[in-house]
Structure formats: structure tokens, C-alpha cells
Amino acid sequence: MKAAIILPEKIPGLAALESIRPLPLIPLLGRSLLDLRLEELHRTGLREAVLFTTHNRTAIVDHIGAGERWGIRVEVRELPARDEIHACIREARLPVLPFHAKCATDPRGWFQNVTETLERAVELRLGMRELAAGVRVHRSAKIAPSVRLVAPCWIGANVRIAGGVCVAESVVESGSFLDTGANISRSWIGPSTYVGADTDLVESLAWERQLVKWASGSSVQIADAFLLGPAGTRETAAGSTLPARAAGCLGAIWRAIANLPDYFRRTGNEDFNQRTLA
């Protein structure tokens, strides 16, 4: 089966998020909206698709390639206007499939998508573990023992959470770093985002420097990186030189060797999990 999918145009209400990545490529619990849609369509038997977009063709092609990962042969076409896209589809006589059943048009809708995806995510994905009912954490996440996780919440790959942080009814996408004492409630933290120590994020969408209050739609770009910013710059600043990185690697290997006897003594991660949820 072959079909056409029209990717959404820029949505003014989501401009803050789209300034970082095109809407179809924004992750939702680790996978982009486009990833999720192509997975769904593969299950329904779709094997060939033409994606039409009015902008950002390069970013989309960079992300999905030719669609091999989803078992769908994908072609991406960029046309300047929706009219031209519809004319092209009519000419090719392709059935049109919706991009997303309920594509958000504002921050409130975006957060609703986040919570609905969180509720629907019944099966555990590869690498995820359930620390308690509704608390899903990627195995590569590093969480301090004093962190409080309140269901439902989802912590992605390579997330680091320092002591005294509380994450309640929220999603933290991969690679983010929540610093000491931060309070995250009913919020979505985008990928590779640093959330500063003792900050309060309530009913917000935070991604790199962008901070959006999803209930009101108000958005602001935070100027101070110690409050909110990209997590990546922090990591590279700490160990950008080769000797520093080499020393870091040697230290990690030494710590791993030193911890081996302790690892074999333990039966699992139960102790850690209990402390995490205390």
C-alpha cells in the first residue's frame, strides 16, 4: 500500500518548540511524532509513503532517511504551498493519511498529547524499567537516591537527576540534566536540557532556553544558562580537551573495576529503587 502524508505547517502557538526542531521531529517519550506515526502505519500494512512538507525537508530527510528503520519506503517532497501539495496528490491519485490524529495546535494541546502518550504507554520499551506503578525510567538514567519520582512520570535515556529533585507527573526527555533541588511538576522537559538548581518548573514545557507555560501559552527565552539551557554545552565545557576526556575514561574504568565485587554481591537494584522512591 502507498499513501501520502501531509506534514503540518508551522504552528504559531508552538513557535517556541519549533524554533529548535520541526514539529514532526519533536520527541514525545523518546520518539518523534513522525517516528510514532510511521510505526503505526507500518502496523496497518503501509509499505510506501510520500511525505509532503512546505518547509524543513532537509531536517526531515536527515532524520528518517529513506525510511528503512520503519520498513516503509519514504520519499519526502517539499512544495511551497498547500494548494500545490494537494494538486500533486490528486495527480498521483494517492490516498491521504492524517499526520497525527490529534495534532496539537497550542502548548496546552501539546501537553495533553504528552499525558495521553504517557497513559497509553503500557508496554515497556527496550531499556526502560518500571520502578513503581507509572514511574518509568531508562536504565541509562542516573538518579540520585534522594530524588522523588511521583507517578505518572517518564525519564528518558542518559538523563541525570541530582539530589533533592522532585519530578511529578512529568516527562524528562533523553540527555537532560536536572540539577540539585529542582522541582518539576506537570511539565515536559525537552531533550538535552539543563534545568538549574532550586528552580521551579510547574505546568511548563522547557526545552533548552525556551520556557513555555502550557496553560497560558506564554513563552520566554531564558537568558541565564544556569537557570535553563542546553545540557550539552555544560558537558563539553567540563571535559572538552583530550587529556581531560582520557582522564575521565580512565577514571570510569577504574571505578567500574573497583565496584565489580560490590556488583556481584548485590542481587539487583531493589535497594536503589526503594531509595529513589522514598
Partner: protein, 101 residues
Amino acid sequence: MKISTSGPSLNASQITELNSSTAPAVRDEIRAALKPEHTALVLDLSATKFVDSSGLGAIIALQKTMAPKGGTLRILNPTPTVMQILELTRLHRVLDIVRST
């Protein structure tokens, strides 16, 4: 910025930005205008589009100026973006914020 007096209150308004280049001047100008009879300082942030850590520092400094003489600092009608920054830094819990409808 506009500074006016109404009774024991000093009001500062029309502050468009409170960042590293404007905040020290705003702080110093308000401090210079404060008289011993002023027991209240009102910062009207209804026209403020942007605040950074320097701006927050200036607000805290003004609060510290008022505190020893038993005075108060009141933030009036902060814009939604300013309110987001106050909430992010938890300053909304320690500052007296008034929003008129």
C-alpha cells in the same frame, strides 16, 4: 523609566527591560529617588518584556534597601513572561506580587 511619588509610596513604572545593561542604572536611579519618608516602593512591571538574573538581582537589592527601615517592595502587574521567570526562580514565593484585573 518613570518615577513618581504618591504619599509614602515611590512608584517606578515604564521599565521595558531589566537586564545586565539596564538593571544597575534602574536600581541606582530608584535608590537615589528614595526619601526617608517613602515606606513603600512599587515596581510596576506591566511594560517589562525581559528580565534576566541581573534584573532579579536589582529587585532583590531594592527589597534589601527597603527592609531595614521597615518598608515594603511591591511588584505590580508583572507581564506573563516576567512572571514565568519569577516562578522559575521561586521568587514569586518571597516577593509581594499584586496583579490588578
